[in-house]
Assembly symmetry: C2
């Protein structure tokens, strides 16, 4: 079933799941109600959910507990992905210690940094931060296939190459720069500078219109 | 000039700027070189940059310092946006103390939280965290028009409503849920759960193919 899900549907699934988790006291929920809550069309909701679940019943709607289980399975939350994080600065440490990731099937096993002062156990997260020369061995030993990049932009490509060399097949990049990898490696950019560009542009237009 | 920029172009501008800042030692850079470095087409690069700069010279390419200044102006980095942040948990505190935002024209003036234990000066960022009942007054007094939401999903909508009520016209939402606001308010979702859904899906397909 997995390969039939579009990328657009896939990115909406966590939003459905979050709504249902908030609403877990109800036995049933209709596609119409979900659509209203999320500002989507009912057709869109039916199509998205049909791709991952057959918990829908005519006139009754979806059985909430079944739909939650189907969404969790489709999202792989029943089988967490292990990841390593490179770059134990402020953002990196924040992600290391962010408890919310466990709810989304992500387990960051360790951090890496070039700075010897960062090495050792991180106080907040309790996770170990190692020197870069330990990266390859740890990724292979624990079969880690995902790397998170939180280093400054100028060294992000070099770190990406090391992660790919260590066997990572997916890279989550928080460095505000474009990085490249072979075609079979997924790179997901989390470019907060791009988000801020949109926000700032909106604010300036909005305030100009008022002036 | 501002209103002619497409949202797609706007989101690429910080990536161009980052590349140029890395390369600030050169006097000139060609559109072709930029395209190669970023994995874009030359036509795309020319079109994007023409929307914000006339620093391009035939055969010589772009004057790097001029192009940097034009990009910074187009992105509003010369005139930082003030913002408030609601939700001083781990992610919220990390964003409060993230020095990188200053480079992107964002100045978070204060944090807010319902938990009295969070109130006072944040140790890491040095910024003040206030009770929620101070939100409206502070936003109006300092003319803050941007709110950042880092609260748990179930209370995100309520916080959004308070921010809009206090005069915010743009909301940067890190809560993994859908929130709504009137049409003139921009909501930019930073849904890390959606990113993780893509990554996890890629990894499972990749590993299945190998098995």
């Amino acid at each position: 079933m997995l390969e039939k899900i579009s990328l657009q549907t896939l990115q909406r699934l966590p939003v459905y799941l979050e709504l249902l988790r908030q609403d877990a006291a109800s036995d049933n929920i209709s596609a119409n109600r979900i659509a209203e809550e999320l500002g989507l069309t009912e057709i869109q909701v039916r199509k998205d959910l049909a791709a991952v679940s057959d918990a829908g019943r005519p006139k009754k709607g979806f059985v909430v507990t079944d739909l939650i289980a189907d969404l969790e399975r489709a999202l792989g939350y029943d089988n967490a992905d292990d990841a390593v994080l490179v770059g134990a600065g402020r953002l990196g440490r924040a992600l290391l210690s962010y408890a919310g990731f466990q709810r989304y099937g992500l387990n960051i096993v360790a951090g890496f940094d070039t700075n010897p002062r960062a090495w050792g156990q991180d106080e907040v997260s309790g996770k170990m931060i190692y020197a870069m020369d330990k990266l390859d061995d740890l990724c292979r030993r624990l079969s880690v296939h995902m790397g998170i990049i939180t280093v400054p932009a100028p060294v992000a490509q070099c770190v990406c190459d090391e992660l790919v060399g260590a066997g990572c097949r997916a890279i989550w990049n928080f460095a505000p720069t474009h990085i490249r990898a072979p075609g079979n490696i997924l790179i997901k950019n989390e470019n907060m500078a791009s988000s801020l560009a949109l926000i700032s542009h909106h604010l300036r237009r909005n305030l100009e219109e008022e002036a």
